[in-house]
Each structure stands twice: as C-alpha cells, then as structure tokens.
C-alpha cells in the first residue's frame, strides 16, 4: 500500500521539509497528506503520555501503514521540526524490537536504531562531560554497541543495556584521562556558555564535591580552569609533585564514583 502524505504543520499549513525527511525507511519518497497529519496530531493532542503515541503506531500497524519504525520516526521528526512535542520519540520496547532485528542482520532496522541511539547518547553525555567530547564518546559508544550487539538479550529492556555501555565508555575515558596525566584543558569547558555546558559543569561540580578539598581544588584549577601544574602549585600552596599526586588520586576517585553511580 503506497502512502501519500503532504508536508504540513499542526494547523494544516504546508511547510517545507528537508529532503531527508521526505523519505520513508525504504528510501522511497513520502509525501505527507493533511488529513493524516491532522489525525495523528489529534491523537497526540489527547495527552502527552507516550503510551498514546504507540497507540497511534499500533493503529497504523493494523491498517498496514507501518511496516518499520522508520515512518513513524519520520513523522516525529516532521512534528518536532515545526515545534511540536517529541512525542514520537521511540520507546524502549520499540528499540528492543529493532535491536532484535539488528541481531538478525536487518540493516534497515540498524539505520533507524543507530539514529535513535545517537540522539539518546548525545543527550546522555551532554549532562556528564564537556560538550566538545560528546561527539567522540557518542561515536565510541556506537562502535561498542556494534561490537557487543550479541550481548543484548531481546527479552530484556534495551535502554538500560545501552546506558550501561555508555557509562562504561565514559568511565573508560575518565580512566584514560587519569592514566595519561594530561594537563591540557578542553578550551570549551572553561568558556561554557550554552545550557549543555552549564549542565556539564554542574555535573562535574557535583562529583568534585565528593572529593577531598585539596584534590578537588587542584583538579578544578588544572583540568577545568586550564592552569599549568606550576601555576596550580603556586596558587594552592602545594608542591608540584603534590599537585600531580592529588590530581591522580582525585581522578581515580572520580572514576570510581562514576562507576558506582
């Protein structure tokens, strides 16, 4: 059954969509039709509960309009694009189904899954690390997901599995930082301006608060404010070797704290 849908917003006005949003999961062109979108929005408007979204999806499935998650996701993107709630965000059960298909080698499902995971991971890491490091960590986690996809058990929830892998990669990065004894600071962190930077900073402060003051102080100076070891030693009144030791010990404790959380 071929679906023709028109590009429009919640008022039924036609809008211009980026080309990638006009493709369905098979790569065919999808045109959004006003009555359909009004129907979806009507259903969505009944509540913000995610369960209702998947009621829409199950209805679509019954009508034979959805064979893969892709179409619904694209609709979600369209609605997000015009400022509506992200009520089409895939839930855990859908991701679990996609992952089960991925384990059987379904590449189409994999494209959708990777896209959803990328978004989820970016949000996850943006609250925990410096914004400049988010992309690398998201990518590393996606590669880990790819390599360890056989360890996901389809009968269990997907997002805790993904979160556990993400946390492992995050802790691993902290450990590498600790071992590398880097003294360079990521410049973006010290000039935080946007919301994610602030959230990352708050998150780091919360962790640092759990360290002894001397360790937290030198980590803040060297790792966040970008001072050299010598400058930090001068300002803190600690010797240079002591500053290094405190940074080492502090980062090690931080890694342990993150692992425990």
């Amino acid at each position: 059954m071929k679906i023709f849908l028109a590009d429009c917003n919640h008022r039924g006005n036609r809008i211009e969509l980026p080309p990638e949003n006009k493709r369905d999961c098979s790569g065919n062109e999808a045109v959004f039709n006003t009555p359909w979108v009004v129907f979806f929005l009507g259903m969505a408007a009944k509540g913000s509960h995610r369960g209702q979204v998947w009621t829409v999806r199950s209805l679509l499935s019954r009508l034979g309009l959805v064979t893969k998650l892709g179409l619904v996701t694209k609709l979600g993107l369209v609605i997000n694009g015009v400022g509506w709630l992200d009520f089409m965000v895939a839930n855990d059960a859908s991701l679990a189904r996609l992952m089960a298909m991925v384990q059987q080698g379904d590449k189409l499902a994999y494209v959708t899954l990777l896209g959803e995971c990328k978004t989820w991971l970016a949000r996850y890491f943006s609250k925990r690390i410096a914004p400049s490091a988010v992309d690398d960590l998201v990518q590393e986690t996606l590669i880990s997901l790819h390599r360890k996809r056989a360890t996901y058990e389809p009968s269990r929830p997907f997002l805790p599995w993904l979160a556990a892998i993400a946390r492992y990669r995050w802790v691993d990065q902290l450990r590498k930082t600790y071992r590398a004894d880097e003294t360079e600071i990521v410049a973006e962190l010290s000039v935080a301006s946007d919301e994610s930077d602030v959230i990352a900073r708050i998150s780091i402060d919360r962790l640092l608060a759990q360290l002894p003051e001397k360790q937290a102080h030198v980590i803040r100076m060297v790792k966040i404010d970008g001072l050299s070891i010598a400058e930090a030693a001068l300002r803190s009144g600690q010797s240079e070797p002591l500053v290094k030791v405190n940074i080492h010990r502090g980062l090690k404790k931080l890694a342990a704290l993150v692992e425990r959380d």
Partner: protein, 215 residues
Amino acid sequence: MVQIDMSTLVDDLTPVRVVKRGDSVFLAVGATFIASVMVAVIYGMRSDLMSGDPHPIVIIRASLLSLLGLATTLAVSSVAHPSIGKPQNGWVWALAAAAVLPLAAIAKFAYLYASGQPFDIFMQDFEFGPRCLLISGFSAVWIASFMTWWLRRGAPIALNRAGWLVGIAAGSFGTFSFNVYCNSISIFYIGFWYSLAVTLCAIAGRLIVPRLIRW
C-alpha cells in the same frame, strides 16, 4: 580518534548469535568435570568415592564448593551482560555458606587451645597442603581460562568485580576437582588449605582477569 561513519557500521552488520547466560555455566561445569576426571586419572580417586559411599565431610565440602562455584559463575554470566540496576548478589550467600569450613576450623582450634589439648590432630595431613594448592591451582587456571574466554565474548562493565568472581568461581571448582582425590577429612586441613586455595585464586583473578577482558 578515527571517525567512523554510521554507514560503515551498517555495512559491517552481520547476524549474530546472542551470548546466552547459560553458556558460561555449561562451560564452567564442563571444564570442572574434565579437571576432576584428570585429577582422578593422574592422582587417583578417594576410595569411599569409588565405592559410592563417601564420608559426610566429603559430601559437605563438595556441596559447599560446587554451590559457591555455581553461584559465582551465574554472577559472572550476569556481569557479561551490560545492565543497570541491582547486581546479582546470590554468590555472597554461597560464599557465606562456604565460610562455615574455615570458621569451624577456627572454632575447633580455639577450643583445643583453650582446653590445652595437643595439636596433633591439627597437624595431621598438614604437609599435604601445598599439593592441595598446586592441584587446585592448576585446575582453577584451566577452568578460569574458559570463563575468561567467554567473558571476552560478552561485554563486562564491572571489570574488577568480574575478576573477583572469575577467581572465586575457578578457585571453588578447582578445589572441588582436588576434593575428588583429597584423602584428608580433617576440618583443620579443609578449613585452612581449601580456603587458602580459593582465596589465592580470587586474588589472582582480581589481578589478572580485568586486564584480559577490557574492551
């Protein structure tokens, strides 16, 4: 880091067989069975085991060791699957149950010491202890190698915990294998040497295994 496009991952996608939790138990129990047979073939088997009427203390120590080995192996299988939430801690109870052996030895030792009785019974069979460590240790290495191989296929996220668990599981099963041959039924011997073997294996597991399973 090297940037990898998502399409590369998609192109590389092949069907995979899900890593099942039961596989680790199957591997560990299989390796223990082979180790026990090897011990019996090389060193011989206890005569009461051969006759099918083992001494009660042999049954007790074998039960405790196999229970501890199974519980920790199940915990190892859980560690290999990433998840967030309460970890599987059933093995702690099995460990507590197995601690009865060294505690009984300490209690008996304290009683003999307090009552001024001779320690002859304490020293009985004691010279065979290093042999216990050696045979249990070799068996444990054999069993741990399978468990580590299996863990490498999984995605353990708590490496130190995995190391401890592999060490305890392999130590318990390794000592269980030795138990097939061990002639002693002295509580001092069992409480000291068996416990020492499991403890050393646990420490070795903690020190070695995390390096092998990091991903």
